[in-house]
Subunit: 295 residues, 2 copies
């Protein structure tokens, strides 16, 4: 049996991903210049979520002037390049952020890169104050969730044990649009495991999807993020239908985007420990590197 409190078991973490997790707050490229407003942003591959978050304050595409950010997150089969060409044909300045081909601001492929794209965008588009709240939340969590904090005091380790051999079903507050899919992405990337994000109309899904087979005990774990009427009803529905219910602890974050990033960061840690429990390297899979070359 593996032990999350023993140094020995972390040997599978060949790239020391736990250091990247622990030091995440602040680890992003600071803009080296001023970018002219208005702003537009599109994102591809591993950068789809930061672009979606940024749409809370920036549209996708500019109609005239300003700066068009294109987040090149790879695996996009030429979509980012198409967006760049389209933007260049307008009179916006195009700023390419990410990796692959020419980039103006480099962000390496990494399981935690969504944070870096988001923070860069916040700094570059006068949202630094929200960005500082993201960093405070993540910084506060870092000291509670790292490997040095023993299992009995570490909720991310507790989550990992409870997710072992189970399939997470993400149940998120109505306010956290896009978060379930982001958790699904990062959980796959780090823990190497599948999970289920419900479709829109999630209550219908929760109540119908587990009817035919729930007595056969698919090993599901409902993971609940945030509190509202929808998560309360979902909890009632799922209680008798899944193996286990896990509610994220209240996180030290203020505001919608900081709350979502804090939840994502918590799950990234839980996925990290789950990888350790599975004896798997939690960093980028070799296969992903090869796929990037193909796309």
């Amino acid at each position: 049996m593996r032990n999350l409190d023993s140094h020995e078991d972390y040997k599978v973490d060949k790239t020391q991903l736990h250091r990247d997790l622990a030091g995440l707050a602040g680890s992003f490229p600071e803009p080296a210049e001023e970018y002219a407003a208005p702003y537009g942003v599109v994102g591809y591959g591993e950068a789809w979520w930061p672009a979606e978050l940024a749409h809370h304050w920036i549209p996708r595409l500019l109609t005239e002037g300003g700066t068009q950010f294109v987040l090149q997150g790879g695996l996009d089969l030429g979509a980012a390049a198409g967006a760049v060409s389209a933007a260049e044909a307008s009179d916006a300045r195009v700023v390419r952020v990410g990796f692959g081909g020419k980039v103006d601001v480099a962000i390496e492929p990494h399981p935690l890169s969504p944070y870096r794209y988001l923070r860069f965008l916040q700094q570059a588009t006068s949202e630094a104050e929200t960005g500082a709240r993201v960093d405070r939340a993540i910084g506060a969590l870092a000291s509670q969730l790292g490997p040095e904090v023993p299992t009995e005091d570490n909720p991310a380790k507790f989550f990992a044990w409870n997710l072992l051999e189970r399939i997470p079903l993400w149940v998120v507050s109505e306010r956290y649009v896009g978060l379930a899919a982001a958790l699904q992405q990062t959980f796959a990337r780090i823990a190497g495991s599948i999970s289920i994000a419900p479709p829109p109309g999630s209550l219908e899904f929760f109540i119908t999807a587990l009817e035919a087979r729930h007595e056969q005990g698919d090993p599901l774990a409902a993971v609940v993020v945030g509190e509202d009427e929808r998560t309360r009803l979902a909890l009632e529905i799922l209680e008798t239908r899944v193996d286990t219910l896990l509610e994220l602890p209240r996180l030290p974050a203020e505001g919608l985007i900081p709350e979502m990033l804090a939840a994502w960061y918590f799950i990234a840690w839980a996925a990290y420990y789950l990888a350790i429990l599975y004896g798997r390297d939690p960093a980028d899979a070799e296969v992903l590197v090869r796929l990037r070359e193909e796309t």
Copy 2:
């Protein structure tokens, strides 16, 4: 062992859902009057997908005048009522479509209602020509997929056998935005079973999510809809990682929305047969009726 070619086994279908499936083409409320352009549409609960499809030609919200359609698909915790109030405060005419509270155009809760909302909207907003193509595709499929067509000639029955005791993973062409979640919804509603729609950046998900546990054989079935570079790569990735690969046959549909509806209709039939194989009533669950009263 159940037999999809025996009348006996269809007794669990208490509401004769197979008749609704077979007669779906044309079964929608025709607009009884003219609605003034421009149009806006928002959709909730089971009507989220038809609203999203309609955004191919209608925006969400009107800025002035015209007709604002609000699709009341239930289970929305007051969101539709909020949208109605907001629209009434503008100078748009509000048309409420669906069920629950006051409605102007009634569409009963039903596993196949997404088709009905969509077709009503097409007729009401000068998209009847595309609607006719949807109906031709669904009409053509109806005669190939019904219970009277024996298993050896019926691809929907073949799919059901191959999905038995497995979790579908929806792999859809890049062009079919939103379709994977719609399949997840309808598969849950009819087959009473879970399935997995990937997050945006689906190739990354396919290649990473099955790393840690794939040797433990989660019983996944990749279901591939449409052909393009993304589905081709996904097939390559998933081939060695899932239990079985199922490719939807080429469907007799012309144009983006007809193609998506045809694929959805095919999967609705497959889900229907799967419910029969599980010995489960494929129509609305009693629990769903109770939940509607609560929300």
